[in-house]
């Protein structure tokens, strides 16, 4: 079964089969990356445009490696020094990129929903590489992949996501993804950053709960995921102080001891060590943070491959 979706905008529209297919394909892609020559010619002759309206080294490089490993050409368009900076509208930039021959567009944007505008404007598939507070589906997929690889299952596990849930696209996409695969999700953070509505996403069926006390939340957890605390939240009225945040919400040895003995610790990066996670934990045995980065390329290859349909004529003809 091919993917049911034409774009990767968020995981809310992705069924269990879709996610399973991406993760399974990710296994094949990981094998390619382990080869002496970690590259296949699959997408030779196709061009993937990376439109990054928001600075992001790791995600951009990960997508670029993924595309190149599949043999595609990559064009990077970043906000600084381009027509974007000169005030060209998103829609005009997209039309230009399409006219120049992009076969797929990967977009990162600080405004939620920008990838939907891209998908409505373009004929080619669109991958959301992070939009505002809304979604970061490729991150969620690599998180799912990492957990499945390590624990061998997703159904029934307990995932705790700790931090600024309100402003986190990683949290939102992981809620959809892990709930769709049957995991239980506990969201933990300061109450002002923990909107109650996250427990009411359609189809998540009681799998998502919130718990503002981390000591309670981590009990029996199989996976503990710390989110990055953005500096600007600290400067605003959202949080009183970093030290207090660390005291209440940092992933520490003592807290991790309350989780399952073989619990995994994850972080989407980049980390603020000593704030949301202690250095000992970040580089300790439970940490799979580096694996997340490695797996990210394989999962993004899977996503790109599965969305890279053939021509429209082929689609119509068959």
């Amino acid at each position: 079964m091919p993917l049911s979706q034409r774009n990767l905008l968020d995981l809310d529209e992705f069924g269990r089969d879709d996610i399973g297919l991406i993760l399974d394909t990710g296994v094949s892609m990981a094998e390619i990356l382990s080869r002496q020559i970690p590259r296949v010619p699959t997408l030779r002759g196709t061009t993937i445009a990376n439109l990054f309206y928001e600075a992001s080294t790791r995600t951009r490089v990960s997508f670029e490696l993924a595309a190149r490993s599949l043999g595609a050409d990559v064009v990077n368009v970043t906000a600084s020094g381009s027509s974007i900076e000169k005030g060209e509208s998103l829609v005009d930039t997209l039309r230009t990129v399409q006219a120049l021959g992009a076969d797929m567009v990967v977009i990162r944007h600080r405004d939620a929903g920008a990838p939907y505008l891209a998908a409505a404007t373009l004929d080619c598939p669109v991958i959301n590489a992070g939009d505002g507070w809304h979604a970061h589906p490729s991150q969620a997929l690599l998180d799912l992949y990492t957990v499945r690889t390590r624990l061998g299952r997703l159904e029934g596990i307990k995932l705790v996501i700790v931090g600024d849930i309100l402003h986190s696209r990683v949290a939102r996409s992981n809620i959809w993804g892990f709930a769709r695969m049957g995991a239980r999700i506990v969201l933990c953070g300061p109450p002002q950053l923990l909107p109650h509505e996250v427990t009411r996403f359609p189809g998540t069926d009681g799998l998502v709960t919130i718990e503002p006390n981390l000591d309670v939340a981590v009990e029996d957890a199989d996976v503990v995921m710390a989110l990055r605390i953005q500096q600007e939240r600290m400067e605003g009225a959202h949080l009183p102080d970093l030290r207090e945040y660390a005291r209440l919400y940092s992933i520490s040895e003592a807290r991790l001891a309350r989780a399952n003995p073989d619990a995994l610790v994850m972080h989407p990066g980049p980390m603020n060590q000593g704030v949301e996670i202690s250095a000992t934990i970040a580089y300790g045995n439970a940490s799979v943070i580096e694996e997340q980065v490695t797996n990210g390329v394989a999962v993004r290859m899977a996503g790109i491959y599965l969305l890279a349909g053939g021509s429209a004529e082929a689609a119509n003809g068959q």
Partner: protein, 451 residues
Amino acid sequence: MASKDLLIKGARVIDPAANRDEIADVLVRAGRIEAVDPGLGIPDGAATIDATGQVVAPGLVDPHCHLRQPGFEYKETIGTGSRAAAAGGFTTICSMANTRPVADDRGVIETILEFAEREAVVRVLPLASVTMGMQGRQLVQMGELVDAGVIGFSDDGIPLPGADTMRTALEYATRFDRPIANHAEDPSLIAGATMHEGLTSTRLGLPAAPRQAEEIMISRDVLLSELTGGRYHALHLSSGGSVELIQRAKERGAPVTAEVTPHHLTLTDAIVGGREEPAAARLGPYDANTKVNPPLREPADLDLLRAALASGVIDCVGTDHAPHARHEKEVEFARADSGFSLFETAFATMLGLVHTGVLDLPALIERMTVAPARVYNLPHGTLRPGAPADIVIFDPELEWVVDRERFLSKGHNTPYHGLPMKGRALRTIFGGETVFDLAATPAATGGSVGA
């Protein structure tokens, strides 16, 4: 202007100001209502309109619209806006002050009135801003502006931030018996917000503000109205919770009025996440044609607002017609301008509420004619003999589909595109002259007749 007499025959005539609802004829002479009575004879040389089976009502009064001239003629002009209003059954429209330059001095008001005189096909009555440049600090020269013809004061689009400013404005305006109309949202709570805070905003990751942002400001404003005795008009209520606050203020004798828009009565925040049905009216997630300020809220709000309009706690319907250009809506949701082009769908939307039993037709006509006129002390919105012959003839049952490409407004920004409607204006008469006739202009009137 020595037009010949006009007799509109056989319609159901609804004139809430005169407590009239009966089958009658309406005689127009020299641009004014001459008589309304069952079985009027046809005077010599009079033109006649057979309106049997149709409804005749006073031309609708819109207490709240944005005509964009001067300054934003690419969005709308007084000419195009007034023609769109006429197509929607309106004959009196009250324009907000957020033009460029802001309507904060006599010169701008006179410019608006000159444009209106030259280009408008209906009556355009401007509001001035409350503060200079809508900056929220220095009050405008209300006396001179009243002399120039303004009907009220509002910084609409921007909430008046300081309670002290609101207090002073209300007190000063009592000298001129004009209301202060406020866009009631607490500025600190709505900073950066793009929609209503709830499940949809949480799902979509859009910055949002709770309905309390409105209720807090309404609370402040009605208390200050009570304190000062100044007339206060609450613009475009969106929160169900505001109803109780308005009701309590009225019960305590504060000179408070309130309006509600057709969209806040009929649409919820869910459409920001997309609309699948009907297919012709499909909206994708984050479509900026769902972005409006104050934002669309939840079903419970709609219920309370509808009940309040029916009971009269909310006095009137205002369209908040807010036309924008395509390039201002075809952008990231957070960057899009707020507002809908409403003139050509407002009446049909409201008639929909009559069809579903929210309120009866005479009550709706009251909320769209004499009630908004009362807010700004206007003598319009009635068919009493001697009044200007401002009339709408409409068919409450006519079925049509909204097609924004046919709007007379320059603004095609509507969340109603592709939706089926029931009921619309067939003919709009202003000062005895037909300024809109559906039969004569079927292709340019916002939608195919007979879906």
